[in-house]
Symmetry: C2
Subunit: 189 residues, 2 copies
Amino acid sequence: MARTDMLLLAILGTLAERPLHGYEIRKRLGSQLGPFRALSYGSLYPALKRMVSDGLLAVDEEGAVTGTRRSRIVYRLTHAGIGRLQDELASAGASAWEDDAFDVRFAMFTRTDAATRLRILEGRRMRMAERLEEISEGVRAVRERHDAYTAELQRHGLERVEREVEWLDQLIENERAATRGKDDPADAG
Amino acid sequence: MARTDMLLLAILGTLAERPLHGYEIRKRLGSQLGPFRALSYGSLYPALKRMVSDGLLAVDEEGAVTGTRRSRIVYRLTHAGIGRLQDELASAGASAWEDDAFDVRFAMFTRTDAATRLRILEGRRMRMAERLEEISEGVRAVRERHDAYTAELQRHGLERVEREVEWLDQLIENERAATRGKDDPADAG
DNA sequence: GTTAGCATGTAAGGAGTTACATGATTTT
DNA sequence: AAAATCATGTAACTCCTTACATGCTAAC
């Protein structure tokens, strides 16, 4: 399953809405959180070209219409591109709950089915619980050199992850409630 | 000023405490937050060699003592290494308040003078205020495609940064109080 | 005796950035 | 007319990981 290339996924997700040219894709990604908040053109344009030659995207040169103006190469998803996006969205492997991947996937949740959404949220929660454990181990491991600043950094790190877990718990609960609501409308009242 | 190589700085900071061998350096870095939480040997060992050839570190082959055992190459800071660390710690350029750099530098705050600590904390606070602005702009920029999940991600991102700012405000206040306490002991009561 | 952890290293590759290069269009 | 922003692209480089390769030592 060609381990998910995040940039590719982000581009597919952005173009799923509607065809766009590179500069605009960058702006959209820039308005989101996560990686690619400040993506360089040196990454974006080669990626788009690769995706065209892989058959995931097709181009509409906008310039041809007005004459001289060559600017703006508008990219749109091909059938293969749509298929690839759907495959990626349906697959929620272990990599989907790492920091960057989670943000990218969360931003596409409206396009993701309920079951996969729940699996990603639960996977992420599990990952965060692990991190809590890792940090606690780190606290124990140092013991020796536990200066006030290092201790404070760890305390703050722990707090941040704890909040993340609470946030996820809330989201998971909402998802479950929504699913129950659909499966058994009687519960809603 | 050879723009700060974070890994180099982290190694210098770790060895400032006492000489250590590579494997142990990795363990120490692994117990901290920030980048290098899971540093690979493929990065660490070449970096150590480079630092030796640059004259920042010197080696004590521990194995020679016990005979056959060649294991454990213990690294320690040279005079140049100590000097370099001090230079880096005293310089608090704009890069010092980026995510990764901030974590690395914060972990060395006990070795950093009060004025530089304050400058780094204030710089970081400014950076976080900027990010708050960036996220808000992002919220405005989308408007069009503002599905519930993307909105929730942005809301959560904003909240996280706001908390970071509060945390920094607290730390800055503490630093100022400590400085006042030293300059004018009468204020302490 | 065999598994787990300690300990060091190299070569290839991935995923991005920066710097460079160019030119059109819109705003002031 | 100048400056800002739109728009695309390449080449070199950075910094890190992964996979590979080796061998010792402690615990079960």
